[in-house]
């Protein structure tokens, strides 16, 4: 039993490290620079987008290239809530997420008729239609977009309180609030993904991904599971999009519905990190951020380097960097599998953790 003991202690060590990391990240706006807060905000929001795309492509077999639709809708509806209807931007974030989710329902009706590459192209086409519609929204600046009025984030929920608490400028306090929200979103997304994937429905979803016909024949309703995941991921992506654009403070159809920023980079993150795993997107987001920092000054060279790295990973490490690590060390953080009960013993074994 020594091996299971060391596994158990590795697990507690992992949990301890995770708790320290999370506490450290919560403290960043208090002890770190504003630039660091902003950088980590973008890493965290990319991570949430990546976790959502990974859920679709890695676990549901839904390779969407239209995630920018949800980012854009989230952003635009948040702007509408704030500018047109005078709501708090954070309420706008929530409404933006709901709007993205509502949009995903008819989108699913259309896209679920398509398979494989056609699904990918179909989602992209729908996202482009959404972009065109947004550019007709004259109250929000039409094709040229619009900005949040000066001082909007100063009065945002929680900002005056944080301003006093940390004794910083309103702008820094707004950065801190959005940062904490991004952190909360990332942690929530990780937790929900983990719990869901280990549940009955999560197992069914992975069966559908692996073999649709067999899944139907063991009593699974594939459409229901896929629709559930698609709409929930639209909600998560819409929330994140709205939050990102509070930070950016300016929205245009091109920026909010950018396939490169909100889908291509996200796919890159998931693929190099390790698709179909939960630590993969975390690793991928960190690598992506590091590359961006190192190579940002080189313009196109940066994009070429990203492309080459992506291709290399797809060719030589199909399970991504996290796959390489688990293969080498045999250690898997956040394992999703259901371990079989010990086969040799006749006595009743404790049931493996399930939800």
């Amino acid at each position: 039993m020594s091996s299971s003991f060391s596994k158990g202690s590795a697990r507690s060590l992992g949990i301890a490290i995770a708790v320290v990391l999370v506490l450290g990240m919560i403290a960043v706006p208090v002890i770190g620079s504003r630039a660091l807060v902003q950088d980590l905000f973008s890493v965290l929001t990319l991570l949430v987008l990546a976790l959502n795309w990974n859920m679709l492509a890695g676990f549901a077999g839904l390779v969407s290239v239209g995630q920018q639709a949800f980012v854009g809708i989230g952003a635009y509806v948040m702007f509408a809530c704030t500018i047109l209807w005078g709501l708090d931007p954070l309420v706008g974030v929530l409404v933006g997420g709901v709007a993205a989710m509502l949009f995903s329902i008819p989108m699913a009706f259309f896209a679920f008729r398509l398979n494989g590459a056609y699904f990918a192209i179909g989602t992209w086409a729908v996202a482009d239609i959404a972009r065109l519609v947004a550019s007709q929204w004259t109250a929000l600046g039409g094709g040229t977009g619009t900005s949040l009025p000066k001082g909007t984030t100063k009065d945002m929920f929680g900002v005056p309180f944080v301003k006093d608490l940390l004794d910083v400028s309103s702008a820094a306090a707004a950065d801190a609030v959005t940062y904490w929200l991004a952190l909360a979103l990332a942690l929530a997304m990780l937790t929900i993904s983990y719990v869901f994937l280990r549940s009955k429905m999560g197992l069914g979803l992975q069966a559908v991904r692996d073999n649709l016909e067999a899944a139907r024949s063991v009593g699974i309703n594939p459409t229901r599971l896929k629709a559930l995941v698609f709409t929930l991921c639209a909600f998560g992506t819409g929330l994140t999009g709205a939050l990102i654009f509070i930070q950016i403070t300016r929205v245009t159809p091109q920026a909010a519905f950018a396939v490169i920023d909100w889908t291509a980079f996200v796919i890159f993150i998931v693929v190099i990190g390790g698709i179909g795993t939960l630590p993969g997107p975390i690793l991928g987001a960190l690598v992506f951020y590091a590359l961006e920092r190192l190579l940002a000054d080189y313009g196109t060279v940066y994009l070429i380097a990203l492309g080459l790295l992506g291709i290399a990973v797809m060719l030589f490490a199909r399970r991504g960097l996290w796959g390489l690590i688990t293969d080498r060390t045999g250690f898997d953080l956040l394992p999703l599998g259901h371990a079989p009960p010990a086969p040799l013993s006749e006595t009743r074994q404790p049931v493996p953790e399930r939800t």
């Binding site: 992975q206 067999a214 899944a215 139907r216 259901h338």
Partner: protein, 239 residues
Amino acid sequence: MAILSLQNVSKSFGALKVTDDVRFELAEGEALGIIGPNGAGKSTLFNLIAGNLRPDEGVITLSGRDVTGESPMQRCASGVGRSFQIPQPFGHLSVYENLLVAARFGGGVSGHDAPALCMDILRRTGLAESAAKPAGSLSLLSRKRLELARAMATRPRVILLDEIAGGLTDGECVELVATIRGIHGEGIAIIWIEHVLHALTSVVERLMVLNFGKMLMIGAPDEVMASPEVKEIYLGIEV
């Protein structure tokens, strides 16, 4: 009442009539064998019974209830468990998880009871050693066992087995026959398509011969095998 009945069921692919006016009843707990040359429409008949294909004509009932329009998922819930001739594992899931998902969804087994049920089935099908392996890494023979095991995990009232004995050694074949007899002994009705005739006839009570989509004969195995027509089709195949 018959657990399964097919009335005048027909199915064509283009101009090719692959199932031609098939009609039979399967009694509760009965074991029926199906034989016939390659391309006779045996697997197609399974696809029709399990709902993977819709018949062009005819009615399929389970315990008297018309299920002709129901999806594979609903038929599984009504008690039809099937294997695929070409194994269709959930490749990224472990062997154990392949059964777990079948037991939880199709079998309606609770999260508390499922692990023990699945391990029991894995033991009976000789897969216990491979429980933790990814199903995609199994050999063809193990994949066929997994087809049987996963169908069992849906806790069926009728189980459809499509050529699961091919390629086995004599010893393995004896084990397989014992496993299928065990399923039969639990009162589960069986339809078994098999080219390995001695294995088949040692289990089933009735034998059906399909040829060009038509039922040529159905009856007691020795009577069917003694018929001149069947002998003609099976000329060259050892009996």
